[in-house]
Symmetry: C2
Subunit: 433 residues, 2 copies
């Protein structure tokens, strides 16, 4: 009987701050990074996953993942994979580690990474990409993965089952549709604050020509700057193109309302992260005051309990899940079910390192087995760092094509890991010479 | 000019799980621990502080503290100490570490630890205990320590100043009162789930005889058990004694309401942590449905933005700050000001390792310079592990006596640190032999 033998974590960092890729109002100089893990078994298999960070602290994230080793090492592989839901719950309930959250920050992301690595291994063994493996589970099997603690005032197990059962009839047709056409994407590639107007113009034209039907601009630095960049965008893409704005938590309520009133003539489609991701009540107030501009948030929303409240309070028009922020596939499944219950579309956050590769599986699952629709739903796409993955995300005519290889999407190329290992890989040795 | 030369972190753990001290419905086997730091200067001084954890993960917490080294090492001591507010803000705004929160979990606790160590050093240099040093700052100096980002829809800088100015006239008299009589305490020593009825009865009698006017019992394991323990408590302490209950996040809304309806005949004074600390809306709903039993929470509430919402939503009757959960003295000052604005009493969480020693300074500051009252306010006290501190908390007639030594309270005895160092100190070597 194979057992888990090691949980290897590598600190992988890309020196993106040199090019201002990924620069926004709060995160000025990110070095896109991954706390990368491989969970190895005694018969030579492995499950891979990662947590995305933006540089410093990637080592802390790695320590948090290592701190979960006792939950898997030495255990029977078949037994754990037969009930990944239980394995995830045991990590959440760890009676000592729980104090460091509970259910938030680096520990929750670490739990998510181990959960996702277990799913990656199960996908490898069953020879399926994650989206398809999950989309073929029964409603009961899916619901068994969800931790309903603290959710039942908004969503009970029975209601979740009902949502999944309602979507059962069309599953096969929707699988075919995903295989055929993929899932809609939007792009943030042109929108980073650090780019010159010329670079932005070129990237906007490319985005339109590549078939994207929506772009997103970073805002929240200087208002005059934001207005100019929106003007350029409207000049190039026209008045009807969907253009979202992303403030990356820059404002309080009054500042958000004032800024959106100023930007309203350029009719942004949504404002993303107008304020602190923790501030449910502020999001609700902002949404009330800037309607019809939509409010979106989620990439920093730390667990299902916060998403539940955003939905209960009518605080968001768009739920933005992230593949590595919460407790993995299970908690994202809970969030997808909550969004379906409240009829709010999910438009995942992506970009970074591996987030596109990972989160596409969840949107495809949402379409096939949960919400059953792609209306008003698009996955973010940023054209960075895909070449380091075994199966890079592929965009065609503004759509993510369905991944075909077995796995959950996070597996990186060994050479990429080796080259970008921090601080002793060749890329970093060269930079610090 | 002295500079900061090192940030030394030690993993200190006490094997408390052997005696079931500290056992509750969610934390069954805590090994009370401290990620202990000393921030040293080139002229041989140091500021000490700690983050309390309950065992596993204390090493992760230590790594998080070390990750902040670049914010202090090499910097001019006088310059940093002259504006600790700025030093704290710079750590919160760290453009890469911010991704790991923002403002939550181990990173926020780490920032709090460094902030608190800077205050400890400043206290040592000025020869004052923290409560007195802070209580002698001007309203402007205090307000300058607060980060008002995300707070201004509830509390502006001007309103905070007004609160502090209103309390100016009586400061000297209240300092004298604190020096004379101290600050009221309540005790959780008798209430842990793991104790036998006999041990509990003995500890309840001792609590009353020591002059405490309130005790707290852990609940949320087995309801019949909770009822029996409340019955014993009422038999020993009478009907008028204040007896609070603490569920340690065990329930959802419906379970909390049902449990409190069952416990109502024993008239618990408050129910603490009835549900997830993240769930503002659930606390509000529970409070509405179990009135007049009060709702208390805070020891796991991760920042000022969450406390703000608990107050805005009318979700709590009692705010429970914790000395090491949030971003240190500065963020706790923001929370004290928010509570004063909303007229809600603050009854700090304490116990653990060093929490009593640290948090008493903040309640004393609240009395002297912020709320100006002790009505309905008591600091938790648990009779554990005080002997390891340079200045242990002292209780007399149910009151915390005012600390007299210079410092912020967290400084431990070198021998205690050495003996309990994990995993290689003698206590742990003996246990794992």
């Amino acid at each position: 009987m194979p057992t888990f033998t090691s949980l290897d974590v590598t600190d992988v960092r890309f020196p993106t701050s040199r090019s201002l890729d990924g620069s926004d109002a709060m995160n000025k100089d990110p070095d896109y990074s991954a706390a990368y893990l491989e969970l190895r078994t005694s018969d030579g298999e492995s499950g891979a996953s990662l947590v995305f960070t933006i540089g410093r602290g990637n080592d802390v994230q790695g320590e948090a993942i290592r701190a979960l080793s006792h939950h898997v090492i030495g255990r029977d592989v078949e037994e754990v994979l037969a009930d990944i839901g239980r394995a995830g719950a045991a990590m959440i309930e760890d009676s000592q580690l729980r104090w460091l959250g509970p259910e938030k920050g680096v520990m929750q992301m670490a739990i998510g990474a181990v959960v996702n690595a277990l799913w990656d291994l199960r996908c490898m063994r069953e020879g399926k990409p994650l989206w398809l493996l999950l989309a073929e589970l029964s409603p009961e099997e899916l619901v068994d993965l969800v931790d309903f603690r603290y959710l039942e005032d908004a969503l009970t197990r029975e209601e979740a089952l009902e949502i999944l059962e309602r979507a059962l009839p069309g599953r096969a047709a929707r699988i075919a549709q995903i295989q055929d056409r993929g899932y809609p994407a939007y792009t943030t590639t042109p929108g980073w604050l650090g780019y010159s107007d010329e670079k932005m113009e070129r990237l906007l034209r490319e985005a339109r020509d590549q078939g994207f039907e929506m772009v997103k601009l970073k805002v929240g630095g200087d208002l005059a700057d934001d207005l100019r960049r929106f003007e350029i965008t409207r000049r190039i893409l026209g008045e009807d193109f969907l253009v979202a704005a992303d403030a990356n938590q820059r404002w309080g309520v009054a500042e958000a309302v004032a800024a959106m009133e100023a930007l309203a003539p350029a009719h942004p489609y949504w404002i993303e992260e107008p304020t602190s991701p923790d501030d449910v009540l502020a999001h609700a107030e902002i949404r009330r005051r800037i309607s019809p501009i939509k409010v979106a948030t989620g990439e920093h929303v730390h667990n299902r309990i916060m998403f539940k409240q955003l939905l209960q309070a009518g605080a968001v028009d768009v739920v933005q899940i992230d593949a590595t922020r919460v407790g993995g596939v299970h908690e994202n499944l809970a969030i997808l079910l909550l969004a379906a219950k409240y009829g709010v579309p999910v438009c995942p956050h992506a970009g970074g390192v591996g987030l596109c590769e990972m989160v596409q599986h969840l949107s495809m699952l949402d379409f096939i087995a949960i919400s059953g629709t792609m209306d008003d739903r698009r996955i973010e796409y940023v054209d960075h760092l895909h070449e380091h993955f075994v199966e890079p995300a592929i965009i065609q005519e503004g759509h993510y094509l369905a991944p075909q290889l077995p796995g959950a999407g996070a597996r990186m190329l060994p050479a990429s890991i080796e080259t970008h290992r921090f601080p002793d890989g060749p890329v970093w040795k060269e930079l610090t010479r």
